[in-house]
Symmetry: T
Subunit: 70 residues, 12 copies
């Protein structure tokens, strides 16, 4: 069996609903163009604030690892 290789891409997902959904959005968007997504790791959790100081959206930067096909 050949040694497997993975590539890593960095995606920022956003959501007004919270951190979990922002991660899911990042994964979903990446899945539109990348196959064989394998794992993720959260790098940074940020967000922007709207009028009246409510949270407009959470922004979560994730590292996404995917298998490179042979």
């Amino acid at each position: 069996m050949a040694d497997q290789t993975y590539a890593i891409t960095h995606i920022v997902g956003t959501s007004p609903d919270g951190i979990d959904q922002a991660i899911r959005n990042a994964v979903n968007k990446a899945g539109e163009t990348l196959r064989n997504l394998d794992w993720f790791e959260v790098e940074e959790i940020r967000g922007f604030l709207a009028h009246e100081n409510a949270i407009e959206h959470f922004q979560v930067t994730v590292k996404l690892g995917f298998r490179v096909d042979d």
Copy 2:
């Protein structure tokens, strides 16, 4: 247009419900005394445990950036 300046304050929000709500609580409390909140960044996620090992509250330290008025 004048160059904008921002100041950063560090707030610890708490909630028994989870990380997202702890962040929202930090933002809400800061918004009582600070205007022009612009963004946040999560610095630390901790929590304290109550009797029977249940999570009493999540504690999330956030950096909050706000525009300094001219």
Copy 3:
């Protein structure tokens, strides 16, 4: 009063539901064998991805501090 001592253990909790639940699972599992759990701190948030790029489970590494009995 004697000076209190704490020990720290590192646990990875997992959940398909999100980060908060993964932390609660880590605390619950640790509570089966450790008494006097006192606080936790999140060290790392990762996850694995299943077929169709959905998130199979979140993995959250937590440091758990507990009082060492005299």
Copy 4:
């Protein structure tokens, strides 16, 4: 002589001209309300990009230390 105490504030200065000027702007703005500024340390260098991918402004986060008066 009494032991000196310092407080630290975190300011984000911005400038379209470059990093040095963004730092100077942060210091100038802080100097409008704080006395006895003593030193700074750069924490983060970021920037935003405008149309046609030109740099709209540099954003430099600085820690500013100032002597607390007795």
Copy 5:
């Protein structure tokens, strides 16, 4: 019970006597203007050297958390 909120301030305490005393000086100075100090965390330990290479004073940067009153 309302969720508690904490704010964090960064203070540099100094002392010719050692690290412990520099921390105590930072706490004492902060206590002159802030109520409800709750915990501290050491961020940086530095010092300046005087003539003949003796240590003139230790400088300890501490994060100080205090409860924000409702």
Copy 6:
């Protein structure tokens, strides 16, 4: 409005003139192939030295975030 997603790319810009210009060069080069560049963050500042110990060029590694089109 759909949740926005961003991707991050890492570019090393170089310039004999200084750090600001090395950042501008990184942004310009990225802008030749990427649309919707939104922000940058400096990750590393290095440089190489030529004969006679002059600085041949500054090398600045920047993270560049850009909006992913829907």
Copy 7:
């Protein structure tokens, strides 16, 4: 001679007297149940504040390495 193996445990020692004593307390407590303690490394220095803003106790997290017997 067989290759030596070490295990690492993380202990939080506390003391009202200062950092050095908090470290010694961590080592002493660990020594009640672990043999062959070999070295320590300070990971974190924190503390809690009591009424009147005095330091109630210093808390020092130490990594403790000990030889695993063959």
Copy 8:
């Protein structure tokens, strides 16, 4: 001479034989699709364990820098 620009990609190479070979595998795989690879930097060394606790493969995350053609 135009200022050179480099892009950075993140690859995880794996090998049952050791860290050096995992790095070489990452470089070889990247070289199948990228020209002008110039340097690498190790970011993370991990591995997975198989039955009987033997190391199934080492996983080394490398940053790979390559020159962007003019």
Copy 9:
């Protein structure tokens, strides 16, 4: 299927032969008392030097994750 939980232990493996073998020794030693070892991560690579400045042994600190049985 129940959510899986993992615990993490920190082991320092040593070897005169090199880093790979020091990691294997750490895994082997841990495998004598722990079941279900799943992954490792290198935290620190150090070593001690003998007479004539030869390397007496490499010391590699690894985090070892293992599944906690239900």
Copy 10:
């Protein structure tokens, strides 16, 4: 060809003019006593503030690598 070895020295350059010049001053000073300087890396950017809150000088700590002659 023998394997090349490099040594690293840490120098703090200062300048009232800005970061770039402070780096150049560090390199120039090091070049007075060291041959074969090869690269630098910025470790820390600080500065001291003079009366009226103007920046008296920028202080940039650089790691300087130089080839060790055979």
Copy 11:
């Protein structure tokens, strides 16, 4: 006035008495061969344990900055 340059050296001071004294010992030893010592910064606090788990000596790694004479 010429721009001042500083060099940094890394010294490990040791003492059975505590951290403060280990720092003082590092400074004293450095002062035997270096002039114009200006500041220090603590990088690492470790120690070795003797028989009966007592602390044999504290080891404190300090960065020492000193002015380079013109």
Copy 12:
């Protein structure tokens, strides 16, 4: 017995053969001019790539501690 003092030097060893050999080369070179080398710690693992994307040499930065003679 006098308290021992150590100094730390930073060396980059290189080798086409792998990481272990690059470390040994760094130690050997340092041993030509420094006595009483005591321990090392790996700070950074990098490498340069030659034509056809083969690894030309590994570059390992090590901190080397050595006892300062009384």
